[in-house]
C-alpha cells in the first residue's frame, strides 16, 4: 500500500515537472507582459521537432540536442515577437487570442506538411532507459532524470530573476513600466529576452516530453489545455505558484488514474475548479 503511494507520488512529481517546464514560460509572459500567448505550446512542439530531427537525421546524442531545442525555440519566438506579437501588446485579450490561436493552427499544418502526420520516433540512450528498484519501488530512470533536470532549471530561473541585474530590470518593468522606462531601462529588450526565455523553456519541455507522451503535429493543441490549467491554478507571473500548481496537478492526475481509473482523467479538472473557487487568482496569485 505504502509503496504504491510513493510510486504514485514519484510518477506524479515527474509528470508535474514536465508540465512545469512546458508552462512556466507562459506564466511569465502572461503574468509579466499581460500577453495571452496561446501559441506557447507551438514553441514546445518546435523544440520537440528540433530534437527529433537532430537525433534521427544527424545522429546527435539526446542530451546535446536539448540546448539546441532551447535556442531554436527561443530564436523563433523572438522572430514572432518582433514581427507580430509586439503590435498587440496593448490590444484586447480577444485580438491576442485570435492571433495566437491562428498561429497554433498554422504551426500544426506546417508540422504536418514537413514531418507528416505520423508519430516521431525517439530513441533515448541506454543510460536513460529502464528503471531502478528502490525498496520495492520501481522508478523510471528517465523520470528521475526529468525531475533532477527540471529542478536545476527552476533553480537557475529563480536565480536569474531574483539575483541578477537583468532579473531586477524585468521585475521593475513589470511593476511599473513607465517608471522603468524613465529610469533608462530598455523595457522592450527586457520583454523580448523574457519572451525568448519562456519559449525556450517550452522548447526544452517539448524535447523532454517526447519520450513520455510522444510527438506529432497535434502537440501544439493537445498540451495547451494542461498548460493553461497550470498557469491559471498557479497564479500569473509566479514561478513558485506555477511550480506548486504543476506538482499538484501532476500528482492528482497520476493518483486519480491509479486509484480511480473510471473518473481518473476528470480529477484534474475537479482539482482545478475547487482550487480556483478557493483562490480565484491562483494559489500564489498577486491580484
Amino acid at each position: 500500500m505504502m509503496t504504491s503511494v510513493f510510486g504514485v507520488l514519484f510518477d506524479g512529481f515527474a509528470y508535474g515537472m514536465l508540465l512545469f517546464l512546458l508552462s512556466v514560460g507562459l506564466s511569465v509572459t502572461l503574468g509579466m507582459m499581460n500577453f495571452v500567448n496561446l501559441a506557447h505550446c507551438t514553441f514546445g512542439m518546435i523544440g520537440g521537432y528540433v530534437t527529433v530531427t537532430l537525433m534521427n537525421n544527424l545522429g546527435w546524442p539526446f542530451l546535446a540536442t536539448l540546448p539546441v531545442a532551447f535556442i531554436v525555440a527561443a530564436a523563433i519566438s523572438v522572430a514572432f515577437e518582433r514581427t507580430m506579437f509586439y503590435r498587440l501588446y496593448r490590444a484586447s485579450d480577444l485580438d491576442q487570442c485570435l492571433l495566437t490561436i491562428g498561429l497554433v493552427f498554422v504551426s500544426v499544418a506546417v508540422a504536418a506538411y514537413v514531418y507528416g502526420t505520423i508519430q516521431q520516433p525517439v530513441n533515448l540512450p541506454n543510460y536513460l532507459r529502464g528503471s531502478v528498484h528502490v525498496g520495492g519501488l520501481t522508478l523510471g530512470v528517465y523520470r528521475i532524470f526529468l525531475i533532477l533536470f527540471a529542478l536545476a532549471v527552476t533553480a537557475a530561473l529563480v536565480a536569474a530573476l531574483e539575483f541578477t541585474r537583468f532579473g531586477a530590470q524585468v521585475r521593475a518593468a513589470v511593476d511599473n513600466q513607465r517608471m522603468a522606462r524613465g529610469l533608462g531601462i530598455n523595457v522592450d529588450r527586457a520583454f523580448a529576452i523574457t519572451f525568448a526565455l519562456g519559449s525556450g523553456l517550452a522548447g526544452l519541455g517539448g524535447a523532454l516530453a517526447i519520450d513520455i507522451v510522444g510527438l506529432d503535429p497535434s502537440f501544439a493543441l493537445a498540451y495547451l489545455v494542461y498548460v493553461l490549467i497550470v498557469v491559471a491554478v498557479g497564479g500569473l507571473g509566479s514561478i513558485g505558484g506555477t511550480f506548486a500548481a504543476a506538482m499538484l496537478l501532476g500528482i492528482s492526475d497520476m493518483a486519480g488514474k491509479y486509484y480511480f481509473p473510471a473518473i481518473g482523467s476528470f480529477l484534474i479538472y475537479l482539482v482545478m475548479i475547487s482550487l480556483l473557487m478557493w483562490r480565484p487568482s491562483g494559489i500564489f496569485g498577486r491580484r
Binding site: 504504491s4 523510471g140 507522451v213 491509479y258
Partner: protein, 392 residues
Amino acid sequence: MRRAMTGLACLAATLLAATAANAQGTVKIGVVMSYSGQFADPGAQIDNGIKLYMKQNGDTVAGKKIEIIRKDSGGVAPDVAKRLSQEVIVRDGADFLAGYDLTPNALAAADVSAQAKKFMVDMNAATSVITTKSPYMVRTSFTVWQLNEALGTWAYKNGVRKVYTLVSDFGPGHDGEAAFTKGFKDAGGEIIGSARYPVANQDFTAFLQRAKDSNPDGIYIWVPGGPQPAAIGKAIAERGIDKNKVKIMGQGELTSEDALKSMSDAGLGLITAFHYDFNHQSEKNKAFVAAFNAEFKRNPDMFSVGGYDGMHAIYEALKKTGGKTDGDSLIAAVKGMSWESPRGPMTIDPETRDVIQTVYIRRVEKVDGQLVNVEFDKIENVKDPWKARLPK
C-alpha cells in the same frame, strides 16, 4: 411554382441522361474517406493500395474504363461522408462507393448505398454492425470482434488465466474489451480488473502500474493508432513488467511499424492479433511489398491491403457481371468469392458479406536489427463472431 417544377424535371432528365451516357464506356468509383486532417495518413495508405492495384491490373475491366472520383471527408464527419456519397452518385454518376476509413462515416454512407442500390466497399471501418446497414455492402478490412475474440480464446489455450484489460474509452475500444472478454471468459479465463483510459490520454504510467499491481498473468490492451502505442510500450518497459511472466496482448495497432520505431527495444515481446503485416511470409505478399515500396517508398500496412483487396473485389465483381453495374448483380457476384490476398486467403462471407480471413498471432522480435511482428500462430477462416450471434 409550375416553372419551378418544370425546371426540376428538366434537371432530373439531364442528370439521368448524363448517368446513362456514362454507363456505356466508363465505370466510376466514388472513393470517400479522409484525405486531410488527423486521419490523412491512413487515407493516403488506402489510396496507395487502390493506386497500386490499378497500376498492376490496368484501368479497364470487362470492356469498361475505371475512373476514380476522390472525395475528402476530412475526419470523423458522418454528415459530410453522407453528403459526399450522395453527391458522387447523383452529380458525378458514380456506380460504386468505396473507401470509408471511419465507422461513423461508413454507417452514415450505408444508407445511401442501401437506398440508391449501389455496391459499396468498406475498405477499413471495422465495427461489426456496419455491413448490416446496406445489403449492397462488402468489407475488405477486418472487424474488431473478429480479431479480439479470437485473441481471447487463443490466450486461454496458451496458458493465460487472469487478465487485466486496459482499453481506450470510445466505441472501438469498448468493442475490443467486450470481444476479448467474451473469447477469454467463454474459454474459462478470468478478468481480474479492467480500466478504460481517456481517448486523449498521454501518460500511461498510472494505468499500467495499477494493472501490474493486480498481479495478472496477462494484460490486454486496445489502443488506436497514433501516439499512444509507443507511449504504452515504453511505459510497460519502464514499469518493469516482465513479459515472460505477463503476456501483453492487443490488436495489431499496438505494434504497427510506426509504433515499433518509436518504442525500439521496449516493444520486444508484445503479442498482437492482426490480419495483415508487411512482414507476412508469402510469395504474394513479398511481391506486393516490393511493388508498393517501389511505387510509394514505404511499406504497406493494414489500410493499404484493405484498399488493394477492395479494388480486387470491385474488379472481380465487374468481370463476373460482364460490366453490369447494378447493385443486385454485383453483390450476387461477390458473395462467396475467395482469393489469395497479400494477407493470405480471404473470402467474402455469402451470408454477411463480411470478410472471412486468417487471424495471425504475432510477437515482436528483432530480425536483422529491425523490430518486426513475427507470426508464430494463426487461427484460420475466422468469421465475424458478433454477426454470427445475431438472431437470424
